[in-house]
């Protein structure tokens, strides 16, 4: 019962066929022979069916037979092994990044596939996604030898991959890692020594070999992030003839986590017996002591951060759809406004509808933000015009911290409300929302905590190109307002709210600039997470209102009797609820920022013993 993939694909189809200009992506050389808008329904339906039939049934295994560690080995839930192979072999995973292959999925579509996979089994998906991330690094920075040695088996599900950043004393501050790399006779190969923790998919019996993409500091390199290099450190060393031998990578344990119990979060110890080797990716300059590792990691970070936001969205959306289905069945109470009509399904109660509409509107806002960012990534990767690629890259930079942090912050609240909609049953593990709450909480911490995202937004993205990139990002909202304000009958209040939110947001920026100029830099980290939330709400409101204009037109054309009317009318109500109940938070946050309360800054650590 706990495993319940309740996804509905209608919003995907709307976004890809009616909202985002996907024809542009499908016109690129790489995709033009393989994709068109006409095929999207079939593709999405096919994936949805595969996910429901093949992936969803494995969710319970992660819960009932969690990952365990015994005699130095890690065992993953049994069904995950075949499933991993199945998904990779059938082209729903890592092979989509293969630059040599034809017919691979655009990033936008891959994200749609992944949202469904993650919703169906959030503990399984990280094995896939981390492998894709690791293979992506090898593809971008490896030489032909590396690519030939590692990529085919990572893409066909024989091997998997990880990213090894965190160490016991270095989490958010990667620059403080202690892992070291020592030169060998072969300038491409280094001896590796160090410990890593929190390594997702760090070990497991589901694959023959695990290819770790490992950050370490070459002996003599600079301290901090600049001195870090990136290595391919396989669990089993791959000889030239393809045979494997142990590479002195030992697993020392797995974490017992609140959720994602089928996902192995391993601690690794490398080189305890001086036998661990790694391939250096790119080059190292002994003159400057500078490595390329952090820059290499960061190139792929945008996509991993988007992924994390999408995971949070998928878990929250699946919880919402489960709650909605339950509330439609469960009979309890009478309507406040019409008690004589007798007992009613709880979905008719105003507060239940409020919880569901908050969930529906916010998950749709998150999906819009994420898929729009994916669209920009596709443009940035494949548009023939370098100016347009640059333009799209700017949007990606602005959207990435928002798309990672906003959904992963909101998921906790939204799932809390989905539990509340169930009542007491929501607290029972027989129903799927309890697991959703447990699974989702890591996403606000993964891939750079949401505080790190918020400082990336305010400290880096606001100021890129002297602020021009972010100003253009906000200008898109202004352009939308100017183009549609008059023509959008029935949305006066919604337009007014978006306009007020945009103006308020610009005031937030001015206020923060003023604090900076006045030497009150401490106020920036004190407010940055709230500012990030405001950014998500502003941009989410913009996306939903744009969608609502399309949907309203369609709903009017179709009429209330049409089978699709409820979908389009629902899009209108999502936008209305969000613009009128969530977006006003943007100017509420402006007021807090303008107050400039310094209590956080003044607080001595010792007050927190009380």
């Amino acid at each position: 019962m706990a495993a319940n993939y309740a996804y509905n694909t209608r919003d995907f189809k709307f976004i890809l066929k009616e909202w985002l200009p996907m024809e542009e992506i499908f016109s690129y050389d790489k995709y033009k022979d393989y994709y068109s808008k006409d095929d999207l329904d079939m593709l999405i339906d096919q994936v949805h069916k595969m996910v429901a039939e093949v992936i969803a049934p494995t969710n319970d295994d992660g819960e009932k037979t969690p990952v365990y560690f015994e005699n130095g080995k890690v065992y993953v839930p049994k069904s995950f092994k075949d499933l991993y192979k199945y998904v990779q072999e059938n082209g729903w995973g890592t092979s989509n990044i293969d630059e040599e292959a034809e017919g691979t999925l655009p990033f936008t579509l891959l994200n749609v596939v992944n949202e469904m996979i993650n919703a169906a089994n959030p503990a399984f998906n990280p094995y896939l996604v981390l492998t894709t991330g690791a293979a992506g690094l090898i593809q971008t920075y490896g030489d032909e030898h590396h690519k030939k040695m590692f990529l085919p088996k990572m893409m066909d599900g024989t091997w998997s991959g990880t990213m090894c950043l965190t160490e016991p004393t270095a989490g958010s501050d990667v620059g403080d890692i202690l892992s070291k790399a020592y030169p060998t006779d072969d300038p491409r190969i280094y001896k590796i020594k160090g410990s890593k923790i929190f390594i997702t998919g760090g070990d497991g019996d589901h694959v023959e070999n695990i290819i770790h993409l490992y950050l370490a500091r070459i002996e003599g390199a600079k301290p901090g992030t600049k001195g870090i290099s990136l290595f391919i450190v396989p669990k089993y060393w791959v000889n030239e003839d393809g045979s494997l031998e142990p590479n002195d990578v030992e697993t020392t344990g797995v974490e017992h986590k609140l959720g994602l119990k089928g996902s192995a979060t391993a601690a690794l110890s490398c080189g305890d017996n001086n036998g661990c080797r790694g391939w250096l990716l790119g080059s190292y300059d002994p003159e400057t002591g500078e490595g390329q590792g952090m820059a290499q990691m960061f190139q792929m970070m945008n996509e991993e951060r988007l992924n994390t936001g999408m995971f949070a969205l998928s878990v929250a959306a699946n919880a919402y759809w489960n709650a909605a289905a339950y509330c439609k069945e469960r009979i309890q109470g009478r309507l406040m406004t019409n008690p004589k009509a007798g007992r009613t399904q709880i979905i008719n109660h105003e507060d239940v509808k409020r919880m569901l509409l908050l969930n529906k509107a916010t998950t749709e806002a998150c999906r819009a933000i994420i898929l729009k960012a994916c669209y920009f990534i596709d443009v940035a990767h494949h548009d023939p015009d370098p100016e347009r690629r640059k333009w799209a890259s700017g949007k990606v930079e602005c959207l990435t911290p928002i798309a990672k942090a906003y959904p992963s912050d909101e998921a906790w609240t939204l799932i809390g409300e989905s539990i509340q909609a169930y009542g007491g049953y929501g607290y029972c593990e027989e129903y799927p929302v309890a697991q959703a709450a447990r699974d989702c909480k890591i996403y606000s911490i993964w891939e750079g905590t949401n505080f790190i995202q918020s400082m990336d937004l305010v400290g880096r993205k606001w100021t890129m190109a002297k602020g021009a990139v972010f100003a253009a990002f906000l200008k898109d909202i202004e352009d939308f307002l100017n183009a549609n304000r008059g023509a959008a009958a029935g949305f006066d209040k919604e337009f007014a709210n978006l306009e007020k939110a945009l103006a308020s947001y610009r005031e937030i920026q001015k206020t923060i600039a003023g604090y900076m100029a006045a030497g009150q830099a401490g106020l920036i980290p004190a407010y940055s997470r709230r500012i990030l939330t405001a950014t998500g709400q502003l941009y989410g409101g913009y996306c939903l209102l744009e969608q609502a204009l399309i949907a309203k037109k369609r709903a009017d054309e179709l009429g209330t009797d049409h089978y699709d009317y409820n979908f389009y009318n629902g899009k209108v109500l999502s936008a209305r609820y969000y613009l009128r109940n969530v977006v006003p938070n943007v100017w509420a946050i402006l007021e807090l920022v303008q107050d400039g309360d310094t209590s956080v800054i003044e607080a001595h650590p010792d007050i927190f013993q009380y």
Copy 2:
């Protein structure tokens, strides 16, 4: 490691000795020979020590050996059995409600004791509290025979008690219960038939007998809540000689819950073999078909609702103190504002301090609200002046839904931030915050969901005595503002915000009255939960500001070098943070209420399939 009772008692002492006029309570006949302010430190320290040494070590048992059901029997974690007996025998539990006994704890102090007990083992405490609730009903409504038969063994820990309301088809709407009661030859005794679910402490091997306080409808009684009667239904029937025999009360299962895993949540089936008997409490009028059951249950409901809010507070506060202690040890990163000073404990980072200060301020606001409500309960129960008892009862009525729902809503967010403060370790069950998140989520559902609380507030409490009671409740805040506005140097902005919040709150009331008058009653349940949150923030802000005035004076007297300075200064900062970062939400909610968005009301249930 997961079991970590990290409570600090300083705020209790401040509240009881410097904020609430406890001397008034201690002057009542019942308490005057037993309590004085001078003894409070010793009492609190003694309980804190007992809780840390005796109760906290059992927390892990609830997690590692959860309640289980086998061959019709329920087994509770082994250590809970001795612990239950110990706490009851030593006078920290049910015996405090004994009206015949001397030296029992005033409700305010009992609540303080209970907050610590619940923090140390949230899965154990319900066994105590439900027994106290059940014993309270017998004490108030039972005859001498019932009292003699049940109370001594319920008070000394030999037996326990429950409240049996919920049935599979009747949760929030108790009036729809199907349990029936049939007369026997003895007019005091009825045959009981029915099923109950979600019965906390409903079964277990920790006691000899379980005394269920059971709602059922006597054959021929009215439908709805008016036809319900309350019965004492023991698991084992108690013969006049004290011997026990089976009473046809069968346990059919226990729930597997997100949290509180050591707490038995049982499903019961009574009278399957026509052998279940119960004692009627009070009387039943066959002429009108009306029972007294709901009114009887409701008399004790205020206290149970307060308890639930306090449980949420205690779990959130314990998570906060654990997070603070971790953040003081954990070294990571450099300060944004002074990176050259090198690596630092994360408690020095602004955003970590913000998360901790939000937790500190909000838990202190909740504690203030709850203990103030307890103080009013003590006055309402024991003041010799009937007018003053009535006055205090009015305050209790107003505060009850706030004290239940506000802490139990906020706990989820607060604990989410405590997990975030830990980073990845917060997601691991080896640390205590993951359990806190799992434990706390039920409190927003127990004892009437928070939506029910919000409608109790807006629908009943606002309108009691034509609004006079709630107007007087708000007038207290106005009086505080008028009495202190001028004299409180350094709190200008905080006073201005409280004043604005009070005015905004009154506007919320007017706006809702307008909707009611205009036939837009559906807007009330659509906004009621947000209004309840605003009420908690308004009253919490008032309490914290009042406390801050006392604390500021003390801090100035003591000077920064005094060992207690950080406590008093922390109280000032709590108030400042709360008044300037949380209380502004009251007028943000006013703006939403004034908008009167009807999207929730218009939403057809079918839009939620998308």
